[in-house]
């Protein structure tokens, strides 16, 4: 599996660390809503299809990336910096015949 890091280009998955479900929403720091905290800490989506994931390029630039990966095919349809700079979305197309 290759992930195209917006900084570093296409790199083997071995350079990355999976950092979990990217759909989790952290409650406001002062929130006392235990259900919301519980959902954030323990609940993970497990879709059969496109999944929004956080990966860290730990063996490269160390940026956290928001990766949309199809859990059935491992196809990666988009990679962006998790910091949310949408201009940095990398066009990630599986290399193949043109």
């Amino acid at each position: 599996m290759l992930i195209t890091c917006p900084y570093c280009g296409p790199r083997d998955v071995i350079e990355f660390t999976y950092q979990g479900d990217g759909n989790r929403e952290r409650p406001q720091p002062a929130s006392q809503d235990l259900d919301a905290w519980n959902a954030y800490v323990y609940n993970r989506l497990n879709p059969a299809g496109d999944h929004n994931e956080i990966w860290q390029h730990s063996g490269g630039c160390r940026a956290h990336l928001r990766v949309v990966r199809n859990t059935l095919t491992h196809e990666i349809s988009s990679v962006a910096f998790a910091r949310g700079d949408h201009k940095s979305v990398a066009r990630h197309k599986t290399e193949g015949k043109s």
Binding site: W37, N38, E95, G96, K97
Partner: protein
């Protein structure tokens, strides 16, 4: 002359004779022979014994799918079992032995197993050993009793015990087009892609490129197929953009078009050449892949189909045409399709007599009749073979009238004398790699085979194109056309260039009759290697194993080293018949890597032994030169003790700790994790990360901090120093340095991207020395310049900058040992220089160096926590660190730390233990209220760290004990049956020594 070698023909080098041994007997063959072809040429028919029944077995195939002829190859002390004789190229001195026989191949005591067939039928192991306990034969114990005998009687070859001295190598390769398989389709694809300028890798698992062209007897472009293939491969060799990999099996197809291949570099050589590895493991990243992997011929299932002398039709044709070996002189064929007729003619031309072609089909085409006539073979259409005769070699077959429509046999069985029976049950495309890549095979009723899907149904992360027999196009002309088209398309090219090579081939319909099994009395084998019979499959069905996955596991069909390459489809067909369903509804199993056996050595390649990096502190060499016994802590090497001659470990650390508390000691703390936290929002960030406040910390001061995980459990602790308004130096425990860094990065990147903070790991930039004890300040005063170090200039948790021996240093007054202590940081390159200056300054004061043992002892005396207590299950409260939990602000973990379970009574809390019998305590020992040595029970906790305390003169320990705080002052027992240590302890506060901190505050 070998008895079965033809006078001429074949691709072997008849001028080169090669000597080898099989089961100790000497044989000769020619260069280009496999072990199988050379032994067949010598008239050998018996190659091995079967797995379960120890039936005599010959060679069934001529290639990688061989289930029967498995041998062990011996090279010096190293033995490699379960190698197919069809894949072993002979070399001078080759030593191979047969398997599964005791005491010898020809005379095997376990062969009697075949008469007790019912005993070893499907599910034998499950039924006998996993059923309910009956009387004294309690299943598991009964298994343990029987295992020894069964393992000896069953099973494949024996693995060696000598270390493998061969070298293995790993290679990464990148290419535009990887072509797997070098038959006519693969050769055409490689050529077409190469002509487009693509970087091409062509892999072929056999030593020779050309695949079926080498033995089909067909003519391509007016020359024999073998010559055409040799010319095509030779031309490819001249391309700069083509890499040819013979003897290379592509065995795995992974995401993103990453393929794994095994190249057998020197297995065919007497000795490896200079620098050559035995095997090379290729990791190939291909833009696109052409799968031209061909097809496997299927056996037919009928009684006695496993007798030596029964062989696949194409294999016999190959032995004849490629190796110049006739597998028999009086040959019968048994087929459900046209391809066997070409084989018959090839054998006839090479000098064999074709005694009969038994065809299950009642009607045959005129072309087949002409081929049979040319082979002077009698056709028995609408017939089937119902038995074979002979012992270790075939002597004859029995045939009977057969009705294809209902499988019924009729009339009297007729005997035909034959020393070889060739069978053909149709062809199955070799779809393994496509299946690994996620392609779902589709049943094709005409071909009676699973074919790879059309490219539109492919998974997006795998880009392959099929060509030739792999797609079900079994003729060479189709293979050539598809190969070229696939190569063009894979390389991104278009258009149809010059005319395709012209093929002259025997006619034939690619579609077989849908007949897989002839039901008659006797054992009919489906999976030859695992001895699974048609009856086993039906038995499994009767017992309720109706899913193909269950069937496979219950009968072990297709689970042997050949992975059912030849047996899968016949097995499915029999299952489908039992279920009364069509084959596609029974389904096929998904193939998984590896396609064929892979040497473990190649997977490890150069990466064996201890390849973890070593982390050494700047003062490492000094420690070693000054008598330190080093100890590995994670990746770090740290001094354990600086022992004097004759000292035990305990004597050494007790001396070091005592001297530190009496005068002064110094320890290398360079391994602590150090992270620069910088930026306008650094203080705010630390307030969120730590449980206590850091925004209120003055510049030039340090503070002890505690971090929790998101779930509210304790995570890590350490001091963080405020070097400037926006500049903090965080320290972490040695073990958690990486985890804390990742934790901080995650929050800054993902959760709080609005915070203007940058974190940098600076662990390796700083050398650190902690110097502590009553004389520590005097030692610093003696060597530090540029700053005072008295109480006013350097109060507890204060930071000063100065110089030692001309080198800038940063000194923070903080204490882990409980003594008046200082951490002295200098640039890593000056670590030893500063360390030596401190040692020198300390000499008049009796300064000692101390290691991890003394460090641990002093921290236990002080009751400080480390990773043994912050074990991922404890909370700040459990560790009596709740005073650090700020109520003024939220922090990571603050919302979750007060959950019911984390504040409920009965939690394990940190306590101290004092051994009351003056005997040492053991880490990990359980603590109990009442001692019961014979039947230890009801643990209330365990020891996390222990030592002899020179300050107390007692053996002490830290422990996590249920409701520990409330138990202070009470007695309990340690219960450690593993090390046979039982004894009374007193539970006390974890702060054994100087609880009010008067020593460190000075």
């Amino acid at each position: 002359m070998s008895p079965r070698r033809t006078d001429s023909g074949g691709l072997i080098d008849r001028l080169r004779t090669i000597r080898f041994t099989f089961d100790g007997a000497p044989y000769t063959g020619h260069a280009g022979d496999t072990l199988a072809s050379a032994l067949l040429a010598n008239g050998v028919t018996l190659f091995g014994r079967s797995f379960k029944y120890h039936r005599p077995r010959g060679v069934l195939t001529s290639g990688v799918e061989e289930p029967n002829a498995l041998v062990t190859v011996l090279r010096d002390e190293v033995r490699e079992p379960n190698i197919a004789a069809t894949m072993v190229e002979i070399y001078d001195g080759l030593t191979a032995v047969s398997q599964n026989r005791f005491p010898s191949l020809a005379w095997d005591v376990s062969a009697a197993n075949q008469f007790g067939g019912r005993l070893l039928s499907a599910g034998f192991y499950y039924k006998t050993f996993m059923g309910p306990a009956i009387g004294p034969l309690k299943s598991t114990r009964f298994w343990m009793f029987c295992e020894h005998f069964i393992r000896r009687a069953a099973g494949l070859g024996r693995a060696g015990t000598a270390a493998d001295t061969a070298r293995y190598e790993r290679m990464n390769a990148f290419c535009g087009v990887l072509v797997v398989g070098s038959g006519p389709a693969g050769l055409m694809a490689a050529r077409a892609a190469a002509d487009q300028g693509a970087r091409v890798i062509l892999s072929e698992l056999e030593p020779r490129f050309g695949g079926s062209a080498n033995w089909s007897g067909e003519t391509i472009d007016g020359m024999p197929g073998a010559d055409w293939a040799a010319r095509a491969a030779g031309q490819l060799e001249g391309y700069d953009n083509v890499r040819l990999l013979p003897r290379t099996t592509v065995w795995g197809y992974y995401d993103g078009n990453v393929l794994a291949a095994l190249e057998r570099v020197t297995d065919h050589k007497e000795r490896p050449g200079k620098g050559e590895p035995r095997h090379r493991y290729w990791v190939i990243r291909a833009k696109s892949v052409v799968l031209a992997t061909g097809s496997f011929e299927r056996p037919l299932v009928f009684p006695g189909n496993d007798r030596p002398g029964v062989m696949l039709a194409h294999a016999a044709e190959r032995y004849t045409n490629e190796y110049g070996v006739l597998p028999g002189h009086r040959i019968a064929l048994f087929t459900n399709n046209d391809s066997a007729y070409r084989s018959a003619l090839a054998l006839k031309k090479a000098g064999a007599a074709i005694v009969a072609i038994v065809d299950v089909r009642p009607e045959l085409s005129s072309e087949m009749r002409e081929l049979a006539d040319e082979a002077e073979a009698k056709i028995l259409s609408g017939h089937a073979v119902v038995a074979t005769e002979g012992g270790k070699a075939l002597s004859g077959i029995k045939v009977q009238r057969f009705d294809m429509a209902n499988g019924a046999l009729a009339g009297d069985a007729r005997s035909i004398q034959a020393d070889c029976l060739l069978m053909s049950g149709g062809w199955s495309p070799t779809i393994h790699l496509a299946s690994q890549a996620g392609a779902k095979a589709e049943w094709n009723a005409a071909r009676q085979a699973f074919l790879p899907p059309k490219p539109t149904q492919m998974w997006p992360t795998q880009q392959w194109i099929g060509a030739g027999a792999f797609t079900g196009s079994f003729s060479t002309a189709e293979a050539i056309a598809e190969g070229r088209a696939a190569g063009l398309s894979a390389a991104g090219g278009t258009g149809t260039p010059a005319a395709l090579p012209v093929v002259e081939a025997a006619p034939g319909d690619p579609d077989p009759a849908p007949v897989f099994e002839i039901r008659a009395d006797g054992k009919s084998f489906v999976d030859f290697q695992h001895d699974v019979t048609a009856e086993d499959v039906r038995l499994a069905h009767r017992e309720g194993f109706i899913s193909v996955e269950h069937l496979k596991r219950y009968t072990t069909l297709g689970m042997a080293t050949d992975q059912g390459k030849s047996s899968n489809i016949p097995g499915l067909a029999i299952m489908a018949e039992a279920l009364g369903k069509p084959i596609p509804e029974v389904g096929t199993t998904r193939f998984r890597p590896p396609f064929s056996a892979v040497s473990i050595g190649s997977l490890a390649a150069e990466r064996f032994g201890d390849l973890r990096p070593e982390r050494l502190t700047p003062m490492h060499d000094w420690h070693v030169a000054n008598g330190a016994t080093m100890y590995s802590a994670g990746l770090w090497h740290r001094p354990m003790i600086y022992g004097l001659s004759g000292e035990t470990i305990e004597q050494a650390y007790v001396r070091e700790a005592r001297a530190t508390r009496e005068s002064a000691g110094i320890v290398d703390v360079s391994t602590l994790g150090k992270i620069a936290v910088q930026g306008p929002d650094a203080a705010e960030f630390l307030d969120r990360v730590y449980t206590n406040m850091f925004s209120t910390l003055a510049v030039g001061k340090a503070r002890y901090g505690l971090m929790l995980r998101e779930d509210g459990l304790a995570f890590d602790d350490g001091t963080t120093w405020r070097l400037g308004e926006q500049d903090f130096l965080m320290t972490t425990t040695t073990a958690n340095a990486g985890k804390v860094m990742q934790h901080l990065e995650y929050f800054l990147d993902v959760i709080w991207p609005e915070l203007k903070v940058h974190v940098t790991s600076v662990t390796d930039e700083w050398a650190g020395a902690a110097i502590g004890g009553p004389k520590a300040r005097a030692i610093l005063a003696a060597c530090v310049t540029g700053t005072a170090v008295d109480n006013a200039a350097l109060p507890f948790m204060g930071i000063v900058h100065g110089k030692i021996s001309g080198v800038p240093v940063m000194i923070c007054r903080l204490s882990f040992s409980g003594e008046m202590a200082f951490e002295v940081y200098s640039g890593a390159g000056y670590g030893t220089h500063v360390w030596e200056a401190l040692i020198e300054a300390g000499k008049p004061f009796g300064l000692v160096t101390y290691g991890l043992e003394a460090l641990g002892t002093m921290r236990i005396e002080k009751g400080h926590v480390t990773g043994a207590e912050i074990d991922g299950r404890t909370t700040a409260r459990d560790l009596h660190l709740d005073w650090m939990l700020s109520k003024k602000k939220p922090f990571i973990g603050s919302a979750m730390m007060d959950r019911e379970g984390l504040i409920a009574p009965g939690r394990l809390e940190l306590v101290g233990l004092i051994s009351l019998d003056n005997q040492p305590l053991n880490g990990g020992a359980h603590i109990v209220e009442a001692l019961d040595e014979a039947n230890p029970h009801d643990s209330i906790g365990h020891i996390t760290a222990c030592c002899y305390s020179p300050a107390l003169g007692r053996y002490i320990a830290l422990a996590l004990v249920k409701d520990g705080k409330a138990r202070r002052g009470t007695r309990a027992h340690i219960s450690d049956p593993l090390r046979n240590r039982f004894g009374p302890v007193e539970i006390v506060s974890n702060q054994f020594f100087d609880p009010d901190g008067s020593r460190m505050h000075g």
